[in-house]
């Protein structure tokens, strides 16, 4: 009775390295990574709004920064990330109803999400450069 039982060395569940890389796997990781990016991107939204409320000088600084190549790159990334995470979220909501979980369906949904997010991003930016410059 005084002896404590040593916990059995239970096997660990297999992790990433034992599986062949698949599109749905990449999309799962991408959903989380885009979520993390949007998390910190929200601070940029707050910065933009605070600057607008502060006055022309502060707002001018934001506009200047967003006009630099690094600012443009961030905005392009934010656009795609926001759309991709939204479409990916819709995919998850479809799965929540129990639909679209079959092998061909989830593959199709993954391709549609990726295609949709890239297409929408390109369309928005082309429209932006066309109408605003």
């Amino acid at each position: 009775m005084a002896e404590t039982r040593v916990p059995a060395a239970r096997p660990l569940s297999p992790h990433l390295q034992v599986y062949r890389l698949s599109l749905t796997m990449v999309m799962s990781g991408l959903h989380r990574i885009t979520g993390i990016f949007l998390y910190f991107g929200a601070a940029a939204v707050a910065w933009w709004l605070i600057a607008a409320a502060s006055g022309p000088n502060a707002y001018g600084y934001v506009q200047w920064f967003m006009g630099t190549w690094i600012g443009r790159l961030f905005l392009l990334g934010y656009t795609w990330t926001l759309i991709h995470h939204t479409l990916g979220g819709i995919r998850h909501l479809i799965w929540d109803t129990g639909r679209g979980l079959g092998a061909s369906e989830r593959e199709w949904l993954a391709v549609a999400t990726l295609f949709g997010s890239v297409t929408c991003t390109i369309l928005l930016w082309v429209a932006g450069y066309f109408f605003v410059g």
């Binding site: 998390y39 707050a46 709004l49 607008a52 939204t86 979220g89 929540d96």
Partner: protein
């Protein structure tokens, strides 16, 4: 030395006891953020290339301001929940986990309040 069985020791300790609540809030905010994200993209598209005065006027108009406040409140709640899951997945040390979870709350609250305060100020003026 505990006389309790291994099962008895872990029973009731496994979950945060609010699993479905967390899950449900994540779904509610995700559904709400679909139309609100569309609204946010339209608002930003309307503001691209405009000067400060025009931006202030548009952001301060009631429908735009309301959409922005709903958007910020929804996505911040959503991202706060999401980051909590990420922290629980990757941060195992109890102290680090507490610090990370707390930082998540601080960051989320500051982002939400700063954004909403700015929009309200734009709406109501100085």
């Amino acid at each position: 030395m505990s006389m309790r069985t291994p099962l008895g020791r872990v029973r009731g300790l496994g979950s945060a006891k609010s699993g479905t609540e967390h899950f449900w809030a994540q779904r509610v905010t995700s559904v709400a953020s679909i139309p609100l994200t569309a609204g946010f993209i339209i608002i930003v598209a309307m503001l691209v290339g405009r000067n400060h005065a025009a931006t202030v006027q548009i952001l301060g108009s009631p429908l735009v301001a309301l959409t922005m406040i709903l958007f910020v409140a929804t996505i911040v709640y959503h991202m706060w929940l999401g980051m909590q899951v990420i922290i629980e997945d990757y941060v195992n040390d109890p102290l680090r986990k507490s610090i990370a979870a707390m930082s998540n709350t601080f960051f989320s609250v500051v982002v939400a309040l700063a954004s909403i305060f700015a929009v309200l100020r734009l709406s109501f003026g100085v």
